[in-house]
């Protein structure tokens, strides 16, 4: 490797949003986007995506989304590690597109293949009446920005209801993390220890 001291490390994430388990709902589609800190920048791939509308079949009672993810980030700082924010939408009884769930998950830190099942939730209406009207009008409460679910601040003012699951498969590859001093996986540690022979301490 020619580059003796890289100035950024790279994180490549690919995989797919596999399926969504929303027992009550059908005709769902899914959006994803990545939320990351200030030191991060996407270098390749799409950081946002929207899936097709998937209908559940009779035998597989889950919506198979199969939406590929492929994005590469570069960063100088693990702070603000990318999070994937998922939001699932689907039509309600009246045909309005309403949100069926929000969820977020951190991209796994160490390289490898991961299957994550992300619990989804939606904000609740503030009152019964609100609930009714929102149902009636087809305007369910939504987050001002789906990225809200990736941040911890201000969540205490909301009430949410869990709503289902989305399964995402991540394949993570990192580059130069170790060179920059970030040890993220147990697999890395073996190589660093090493060669120093068991010599005594003669002075």
């Amino acid at each position: 490797m020619a580059a003796a001291s890289p100035s950024v490390f790279l994180l490549m994430v690919n995989g797919q949003v596999e399926s969504a388990q929303f027992p009550e709902y059908d005709d769902l589609y899914c959006k994803y986007c990545f939320v990351y800190g200030q030191d991060w920048a996407p270098t390749a791939g799409l950081e946002e995506g929207i899936s097709q509308i998937t209908c559940k079949s009779q035998d597989v009672r889950q919506a198979l989304v199969w939406l590929p993810i492929d994005v590469t980030f570069k960063s100088t700082n693990p702070f603000g590690w990318p999070q994937m924010v998922l939001s699932v939408y689907g039509p309600d009884v009246f045909g309005n597109d309403v949100v069926r769930g929000y969820g977020a998950v951190h991209v796994p830190f160490s390289p490898g293949r991961y299957r994550k099942t992300i619990p989804m939730f939606v904000p609740e209406s503030t009152s019964k009446l609100q609930k009714f009207t929102s149902w009636f009008m087809g305007r369910r409460p939504e987050y001002t920005d789906p990225k809200v679910v990736a941040q911890g601040e201000g969540r205490e003012v909301t009430r949410v209801r869990s709503q289902g699951f989305v399964t995402v498969v991540f394949n993570v590859v990192t580059k130069d993390m170790r060179k920059l001093g970030y040890d993220t996986g147990p697999t890395d540690t073996q190589a660093t220890w090493g060669t120093s022979p068991a010599q005594g301490l003669p002075h």
């Binding site: 001291s5 950024v8 100088t76 904000p123 209406s125 009008m137 939504e142 001002t144 920059l180 005594g200």
Partner: protein
């Protein structure tokens, strides 16, 4: 009779039977029972009722309700049982006969049914299965049984007269339970019959009872159904039977009228018999029997249970065990506590629990191993600590900071090899052992040749010799001998009679004994020495012969015997004297011995003689009288055997003795005169070189050379180091000479050296282990002697060369005899010592650690262990006290104290005198603060995290410090540095610089506050939720449906708001919709001078002829008809992006165009906070298009875009202030209608939802809240203000701001007679104070109100401050004035001032100084929310809020809701304003200087803006303009004299002149530059253009400066 009762009775009887036999063993009982059963066959006198022969049966028991006699668990009176048995017999008797036969009949069936079980061959057996088998099985069985029975019945042809009887339930029970038991069955068959009549009775009852049993599966008949089916018809009199039975039962107990009952019973039985016979014929009876199995509910009495439990279970008593039981016989309890020994507190155990345990132990393990001397159960002391582990919080106040200071240590990578150290950081743990390994010598090695073996032997012997020689024991003993002899001599000397004779004798005796002892020892030693010497010589000789034999030499060993000549004579004398002394001593000894023997001899001899005599006498007697008494004979019998004549001891012969002594001396001692031989072993010999050696020897030597040896040092069984690998020398010595400093932490438990040998390149083999002693604590480096430790190995090595091998026999002899087996062995020379530290203190672990060993080392790292140390300063004192108070050191309570003392007294340990809560915190700090500060990266990260504005949006902070440019911090650092330094460069005038600085600081503090508040979220910030529609909204939405699609007067619709988060550059646009304009100034016809046919005349936009001093907009431009005098277009510039509309024609153009201007947020940060701080101006200029596209400015309109305006969605009519002709009445002029908004619509920032503290009365505050709530309820859109926040962040009631304040004297004196003019002047003065919106300073956080003096000091403020000041001035001028809170264009929510003139209201714009009549349609104030006077607040509750349509008469409560009313009178609030304002005159010279500087700066700027063109300054024009400007100021922009213009034209006749004056309040240079830039004058690129720029500053009091800038371009027209 109740069936239950009956059953109970039966059971009770059975129970009594049980009771009777309770004590008897079961087996026995069975036998008994069987016997009893057999009896009835013979005499038929046996009881039938006790049907449970099995004794105690768990399934049966007397119910507690049964008759009293049977209840008690104590055995019944013995009479009861037998009696009743007997009594029963009569009525049962007749049945027994058939019973006997029954087995026969049923044998067939039952065997067929259940062969393997071999149950009694009775039909009842099927019923026994009731409990055991499932219903199905039962049914199957029953069917089979029925079938077989039918068969058997058929077989028998003739029905046996045997009555079929049901059996008693107990009987059945017993069968179910014990059916499988062999041996009972025979009996059962007989017994069965006995009980049949009962069973029948019971049958029905139980059948009924069982009805509710759950076992009956659906589809199968319930037992009762079955019963009824099969038996009901055929057994019609169950009642009687039962009553009969009952009676019988009663009688059994009563024992009274059994006779009476018995016959009846019997009759009945017989009757039944007959009937049953019929049944049998039909085969139905059998079926009934088989199918229906009825049994009582299982029940067992509690007592019964208890009884049995008592038998099976052992329940230890709760009573206290007497002590004597717990102790061995005749042992008194011994209480150690009383004897003063420490006994730990026993763990708390409840007394009863303890008693139970003791009782149990006594029974279970009676060996009494469980009890201590005091008779209590042995127990360890309670493990519960009585004191908390956490130390008490020390009182603060002492400077603990220094002690608790955390030192940074760089993180060290974990080293694997450091196990032997625990916490290397601990300074107290630095102990050191020095192990000096100097070398290794093999005393035997497989590679030894024979010569080596001998050499080793020789060396060993020589060493031995040397050692002996060094000790020289022989000499020592000889000396001792001499001394003793002397002592004896002197003791014998009679001249010294100090001591008594006895003691002397005694000592002499002792001496002599010692002499004897010593002599023997000396002789032994001397002999050993001599033999050793002989052996040495012998070995040496052997070696020599070996060398000769093999013809080469392997070892350089050489023995030299040095003869030391001795003085023959002296030697001989000494020898002789020695001999003599010895002889004499021996003689003496012998003599004594002899005497002793003689004594013995004499005694023996005497005895012998006596015996002899007696013998003789007896002989004589015999001779005399042979028949003398026989008893004498017997008497003499024992001495009869001859004691033998004692031999007198021979006196020792001196000669013999001497001979002996001499012999011995010759053997063990050097002969006199013989020279002493001193062997000396040297390595002087030469080893035969390889080429002269035979092959085998060469091989051996090569083998030796290939071998190398090293040592491993093991500390506590862990390898800590190893020596270098050294080649084995030819002499089998290895020199290491290495010193290992072992830095240890815990006390060494073992020190081991492992000797490894490697041959060639093969792996090392462990030869031996050498255990080194752990040095004493006194042994320190330098003082330790070199010691040799021997080792040996048990390895077996056979070599194919001269090497003798190890563990294999070899011999020196040619014939192989005299075999030797030598094992590898050797010696390691080493020394082990404790190292000495720098200050001379030996690095030895403290004693405490030695005692406690490994554990304490761990403890030392524990913070808890240092608890005790915190408060105790003087350890020595403590130790002293501990010894004085005789603390029990074994008491675990004292353990920490004792340990502490031992640690303290050992002196070496480091005892921290503080307690660290998070003692590991240091470990987790990944870098120190210094490093954190030093590192640019960390600093950058920190600053960004703190949201420091410069770094708030810094992206991709580099990984390495070196990649971070120093200049990144420069701005920030500069800002920090400048915080206290007033910089005058930008501001020119110092006062304003200070003000700016002050403002900056206020801003920062408020922003900090805001940043905190910003992180408080509301639901609406996060969740978008539709509001619940109320009726009005629903109605509206319904109404909307009916709405026209294209209304005549379309309204703007609200758009969806977008949160700022998701924005980026290019997303946001500023939309300016320019609709139309009114009254655009037209070109005046050029003076004749300039009349030219071409259209390319310069446009000189001139003022309108207007009626002065009217404020009505009725005026219109008079332009020549039919002539287009102006072709205006609008140019909008924002953030230096310029857009313009198409050109329209005429003075009232209509464009209706939308211009899009990109909006860039600073730093690309589109967060709300950042957007709110955008202060860029939107310049809207109307130009007149002329030929050459020379652009001339008609007017400028400037608005600040404060953040609140971001969301403008309202249509606005903007008033254009005419720039060029601003000399005219300002209120009249051109107007432009436009609409400005942002696309997308941004959410305006919200004010801080923070409650500020206040000094106002709580009641007042509540009232304000109430008032505001009420107002907001009625008119949510109208502004209602009762409290404001002052500059220090406190809530203040608004009326406190209003108070008459004096305007500057200077202004009042200008128009002393004209109050209106004065008012205007004052308004102008106020408007000259620079405008700075709070929303910009404080980023939409809150509106801070400064008092008028602060305002004047700051010389900056927004509408409110201006309005307050103006209002105060008006008040002081004697006008009736109010503050109007409302919304205006373009400011939005703002404050105006309302004054009451004689008959009309005037509305003053405090920021521009303009005033409008109430009914002026062009009044920018569009709505009125509330009026504020010095003593009250009125809220507008009229239908309309436009000033044109409302009544300002605040006295009408229907129109104005007043805050203070009758219910809440005005409390007389003091004003926050000062009494009086003090005005300093502005330094005119400074103003002039500033003027020059500004002019210079502006000129430079214009030149900068024209980088590719030459900028020429027309000095003449400039001076003209400079003269012109003061005139403008004087006239307050009202009248520009025509003559001046004429003059201007005259002077600049040759030039086409375009330009205009700008008038501004002075705050900074920058806005001036921007304003000049926005004129676009510099854009002219006509080749020979010239410029003129003049600046005039008019100073007003209090540093209020009015700045005029006249900028113009001139083009020479010729």
């Amino acid at each position: 009779m109740n069936p239950k009762e009956e059953k109970v009775k039966i059971i009770a009887e059975e129970f009594t039977e049980n009771e009777e036999d309770a004590a008897v063993g079961r087996r026995k009982k069975k036998v008994q029972r069987q016997q009893r059963k057999k009896q009835p066959q013979t005499n038929s006198g046996l009881p039938v009722l006790p049907t449970s022969p099995q004794g105690p049966h768990p399934g049966l028991g007397a119910s507690p309700t049964c008759s009293a006699s049977s209840l008690p668990s104590v055995p019944l009176p013995p009479t009861a049982g037998p009696e009743e048995m007997v009594s029963e017999t009569p009525h049962l008797g007749p049945q027994q006969e058939p019973g006997q036969e029954e087995p026969k009949t049923h044998l067939l069936s039952t065997t067929a049914r259940r062969g393997p079980r071999s149950l009694p061959p009775i039909p009842s057996a099927s019923r026994t299965g009731f409990a055991e088998f499932s219903m199905r099985e039962r049914m199957r069985e029953k069917l089979q049984a029925a079938r077989s029975k039918a068969e058997s019945a058929l077989l028998q042809e003739i029905p046996t007269p045997r009555p079929r009887r049901l059996r008693s339930p107990s009987e059945r029970e017993s069968e179910t339970e014990f059916g499988t038991e062999p041996g009972k069955e025979v009996r059962r068959t007989q017994q069965d019959d006995d009980s049949q009549n009962y069973s029948k009775v019971k049958f029905r009852d139980s059948g009924r009872k069982i009805k509710s049993k759950p076992q009956v599966p659906p589809g199968f008949p319930s037992p009762e159904e079955a019963y009824n089916f099969f038996t009901f018809n055929f057994d019609p009199e169950p009642e009687e039977e039962r009553s009969e039975e009952e009676k019988a039962g009663a009688k059994t107990r009563g024992g009274a009228d059994q006779e009476a009952g018995a016959p009846g019973q019997q009759d009945e039985e017989e009757l039944l018999d007959g009937r049953e016979a019929e049944d049998l014929l039909l085969g139905l009876e059998h079926m009934a029997d088989d199918f229906v199995a009825i049994r009582p509910a299982e029940y067992e009495s509690v007592h019964h249970w208890l009884q049995k439990e008592k038998e099976m279970l052992f329940v230890p008593s709760r009573l206290t065990v007497p002590t004597y039981k717990k102790l061995p016989e005749n042992v008194q309890p011994r209480f150690l506590e009383d004897e003063g020994l420490y006994i730990g507190a026993r763990p708390e155990v409840a007394r009863t629990t303890g008693n139970i345990m003791e009782n149990r132990l006594l029974v279970q393990e009676p060996e009494r191993g469980w009890f201590g001397d005091d008779g209590r159960i042995l127990a360890l002391p309670s493990p519960i600590k009585p004191f908390p582990s956490r130390p008490p919080v020390l009182p603060r106040g002492q400077s603990t900071a220094a002690e608790l200071e955390t030192l940074y240590k760089k993180a060290v990578k974990y080293v694997h090899r450091s196990q032997h150290m625990i916490g290397s950081g601990d300074p107290s743990g630095n102990f050191q052992v020095d192990i000096d390994i100097s070398g290794l010598i093999f005393t035997h090695h497989p590679c030894f040749s024979r010569e080596h073996v001998l050499a080793a032997k020789l060396a060993q012997l020589y060493d031995q010799y040397l050692a002996r020689h060094q000790r020289n024991k022989a000499k020592f003993l000889t000396d001792k001998l001499h001394a003793l002899r002397n002592a004896v001599q002197t003791g014998l000397n009679p001249e010294k009679p100090q001591q008594s004779l006895e003691t002397t004798q005694k000592t002499i005796k002792e001496y002599k004994a010692e002499i004897w002892q010593t002599r023997r020892l000396r002789d032994a030693e001397q002999e050993k020495d001599r033999t050793l010497l002989k052996t040495i010589i012998k070995v040496w000789k052997e070696m020599k012969s070996l060398r000769e034999f093999q013809r080469f030499t392997n070892t350089p060993l050489k023995l030299v015997l040095r003869k030391e000549k001795v003085d023959q004579k002296a030697d001989e004398e000494a020898f002789e004297a020695e001999i003599q002394a010895e002889i004499s001593e021996l003689l003496e000894e012998h003599r004594e011995e002899y005497e002793q023997k003689m004594e013995e001899y004499r005694a023996a001899h005497q005895q012998w003689k006596a015996w002899k005599r007696a013998q003789r006498a007896r002989k004589k007697k015999k001779k005399h009288a042979t028949e003398e008494p026989p008893d004498e004979e017997t008497e003499e019998a024992p001495p009869e055997e001859d004691p033998g004549k004692p031999v007198p001891p021979e006196p020792t012969d001196r000669a013999v003795l001497e001979q002996q002594v001499r012999e011995r001396a010759a053997q063990s001692r050097r002969r006199p005169g013989e020279p002493t031989l001193v062997p000396e072993l040297s390595l002087a010999g030469s080893v035969t070189p390889n080429d002269q050696c035979p092959r085998v020897e060469v091989l051996r030597r090569e083998d030796v050379r290939r071998r190398s040896v090293y040592l491993k040092v093991l500390f506590n069984n862990k390898e800590v180091s190893r020596t270098v690998s050294r080649q084995l020398g030819a002499d089998f010595r290895v020199h290491f000479g290495q010193i290992f400093n072992l830095q240890i932490f815990n006390w060494p438990e073992s020190l081991t050296l492992q000797v490894y040998e490697t041959v060639g390149h093969s792996s090392a083999t462990l030869l031996a282990e050498v255990f080194l002693p752990i040095p004493e604590t006194t042994v320190v480096t330098g003082r330790a002697p070199i010691e040799e430790v021997e080792f040996s190995s048990n390895q077996h090595v056979t070599l194919d060369h001269e090497g003798v091998g190890s563990g294999v026999p070899f011999s020196f002899e040619a014939d192989g005899s005299n075999q030797l087996i030598l094992m590898t062995s050797g010696k390691v020379s080493h020394s082990v010592a404790w190292a000495i530290g720098e200050n001379g203190i030996p690095l030895i672990p403290p004693l405490s650690q030695q005692n406690i060993g490994f554990r304490s080392a761990l403890k030392r790292a524990d913070a808890i262990s240092s608890i005790g140390t915190s408060g105790l300063a003087d350890m020595k004192k403590l130790a002293k006290w501990a010894t004085e108070s005789k603390l029990d050191p074994n008491d675990p309570n004292n353990a920490p104290l004792m340990q502490l003392i031992s640690v303290a007294t050992s002196g070496e340990s480091y005892v921290p005198d503080f307690f660290r809560l998070e003692q590991l915190q240091q470990e987790f700090n990944f870098v120190s603060d210094e490093e954190l500060n030093r590192s640019k990266r960390f600093r950058l990260l920190q600053l960004r995290n703190q949201e420091v504005p410069e770094f708030r949006n810094y992206k991709q902070i580099p990984v390495y410090d070196r990649e971070i440019m120093e200049k990144v911090f420069q701005d920030y650092e500069k800002r920090l540095r400048d915080r206290n330094v007033i910089e005058t460069k930008d501001h020119i005038d110092t006062h304003r610089a200070t003000v700016a600085k002050y403002l900056q600081q206020v801003r920062e503090s408020v922003i900090n506050r805001f940043l905190i508040a910003k992180h408080h979220f509301l639901l609406t910030d996060l969740v978008v939720e539709e509001e619940v529609p109320n009726i009005s909204i629903l109605g509206l939405s319904l109404f909307k449906l009916a709405e026209q699609k294209r209304p005549l007067r379309p309204r703007r619709k609200g758009r969806k708001k977008v949160t700022a988060q998701s924005l980026s550059d290019g997303d946001v646009k500023l939309l300016v919709n320019i609709i139309r304009a009114y009254d655009i100034p037209v070109r005046t016809p050029t003076p004749s001078k300039f009349q030219q046919p071409s259209r390319s005349s310069r446009t000189f936009v001139e003022k309108h002829a207007a009626s002065p001093s009217t404020h009505s907009p009725t005026h219109s431009a008079d332009y020549p008809l039919g002539q287009v005098l102006v072709r205006p277009f609008v140019e909008v510039s924002f953030q230096r992006t310029i857009c313009h509309t198409t050109t329209a024609e005429g003075p009232n153009p209509s464009w209706n165009e939308e211009l899009e201007l990109p909006f860039r947020a600073p730093n690309g940060d589109y967060s709300t906070a950042s957007l709110q701080s955008v202060k860029d101006d939107v310049f809207i200029n109307i130009f007149d298009e002329v030929l050459y596209d020379v652009l001339e400015i008609d007017g400028t309109f400037k608005i600040d875009i404060p953040p609140v305006l971001l969301g403008y969605s309202k249509e606005r009519s903007m008033m254009i202030e005419r720039g060029f002709d601003s000399v005219r009445s300002l209120s009249e002029g051109s107007y432009i209608t436009l609409f400005i908004t942002m696309e997308p619509q941004l959410v305006p920032g919200e004010s801080v939802r923070e409650k500020f503290d206040s000094q106002e009365d709580e009641k007042l505050l509540q009232a304000t809240e109430k008032f505001q709530a009420e107002c907001a309820l009625k008119f949510p859109n109208r502004q209602c203000l009762t409290t404001v926040i002052d500059i220090s962040g406190k809530t203040v009631f608004i009326t406190r701001y209003l108070r008459p304040l004096n305007p500057p004297e200077e202004l009042l004196t200008v128009y002393p007679s004209n109050p209106q003019a004065t008012a205007e002047l004052v308004a102008r003065y106020v408007s000259l104070i620079p405008f700075l919106p709070d929303t910009v300073s404080f980023a939409g956080i809150c509106d801070l109100w400064s008092t008028s003096d602060q305002f004047l000091d700051l010389l900056a403020g927004d509408e409110e401050e201006h309005a307050v000041l103006l209002c105060n001035y008006f008040l002081s001028l004697g006008k009736k004035a109010w503050l109007v809170m409302g919304s205006a264009i373009p400011e939005g929510p703002t404050a105006y001032v309302l004054t009451w003139e004689q008959n009309h209201y005037l509305i003053w714009n405090p920021c521009s100084g303009h005033f409008y009549g109430q009914f002026d349609t062009f009044c920018p104030l569009k709505s009125v929310g509330c009026l504020i006077g010095p003593d009250n607040v009125w809220f507008n509750i009229q239908q309309y809020d436009s000033p044109l349509r409302i009544n300002f008469d605040v006295t009408k409560p229907k129109l104005w809701k007043s805050f203070f009313s009758r219910s809440l009178p005005y409390p007389g609030l003091s004003s926050v304003q000062p009494e009086e304002l003090i005005y300093q005159c502005t330094d005119k010279a400074a103003a002039a200087e500033l003027q020059d500087r500004i002019e210079k700066i502006l000129k430079e700027k214009i030149m900068d803006w024209r980088p590719r063109h030459l900028t020429r300054w027309n000095r003449y024009c400039t001076s003209t303009l400079r003269h012109f400007l003061p005139l403008l100021e004087r006239s307050q922009g009202e009248d520009v004299e025509d003559d001046h213009r004429a003059e201007l034209l005259k002077q600049l006749g040759d030039y086409r002149f375009s330009g205009f004056p700008l008038h501004m309040a002075y705050s900074e240079v920058k806005p001036l530059i921007e304003a000049v830039y926005s004129t676009g004058v510099h854009n002219i690129d006509v080749p020979n253009v010239e410029f003129a720029l003049a600046v005039y500053i008019h100073p007003y009091p209090k540093n209020v400066l009015s700045v005029w800038i006249y900028v113009a371009s001139l083009i020479r027209s010729r």
